[in-house]
Symmetry: C2
Subunit: 149 residues, 2 copies
């Protein structure tokens, strides 16, 4: 199987396959006489594995680590689980941050009344207030009323 076929089967771009090879996530395949990459079914499996991990938003470095771990049968499953849980915590933290952001943007948008000119825009007013370090609807007084930065 050549690179185009492999990429099609895994649903990725040909460039991405080469990129993964460079990054050590895919073993370098055999080459034909003319230098074309020749892949077998194991390569497709590996590529699907990588893509599955990517769909879980794991960084390539962690996927590489996972591949390493899975090669050494003496390794405890706990290490794999720790990696997954660490990643889960990252995702959770990011989700919570976005949730807070959502509230802030909603509060900001609520400042705006239709039909105004920007000179009277509640949003811009709010955003510019921040330039003076004041509390605002989107970043309401954190605890001691200090600047959000």
């Amino acid at each position: 199987m050549r690179i185009g076929e492999l990429a099609r089967q895994a649903g990725v771009d040909v460039q991405t396959v080469r990129y993964y090879e460079r990054e050590g996530l895919l073993d370098a395949p055999a080459r034909t006489a003319s230098g074309y990459r020749a892949y077998g079914p194991r390569h497709l499996e590996r590529l699907n594995f990588v893509r599955h991990c990517r769909s879980l938003d794991m960084p390539l470095a962690e996927i590489r680590r996972l591949i390493e771990l899975s090669r050494d049968t003496r390794v405890s499953c706990d290490q794999v689980n720790a990696l997954v849980r660490t990643h889960l915590e990252r995702v959770q933290a990011k989700r919570k941050a976005l949730q807070a952001l959502e509230g802030q943007l909603q509060a900001l948008s609520a400042q705006c009344e239709s039909g105004h000119r920007v000179a009277d825009c509640g949003i811009l007013e709010e955003l510019i207030h921040a330039a003076h370090g004041e509390a605002c609807a989107c970043h309401p007084a954190q605890l001691s009323g200090q600047s959000p930065l």
Copy 2:
């Protein structure tokens, strides 16, 4: 005020200030005889405005647009609001995606029982099953099943 003082007041890195100038978010300031940037209070206000928008995770291009809009007093506030709401929708979409991810990673982690060797690791099994296109705990039945989104 020189660049270091400006950066300190806004709580950003000196490099970031220069970067914003290059990117057209901060006006180029006057220079001293020896070529040092000399900032006034307006620059600090602008920089705080940019940082505030960044704390709302707005891309620089949108902040630039916001600055443009705010300069033209004939512009309707609706344009500002539309920009904010579009950004809000992006944030919402991303948050929902992360929420789904969280569930998937939790399901995956639950596959793992402590003390196993990787050879018997539920997580790796799951991830590798994906390589055969099978349904798995973390990505349950895509076709007919309930989307976690």
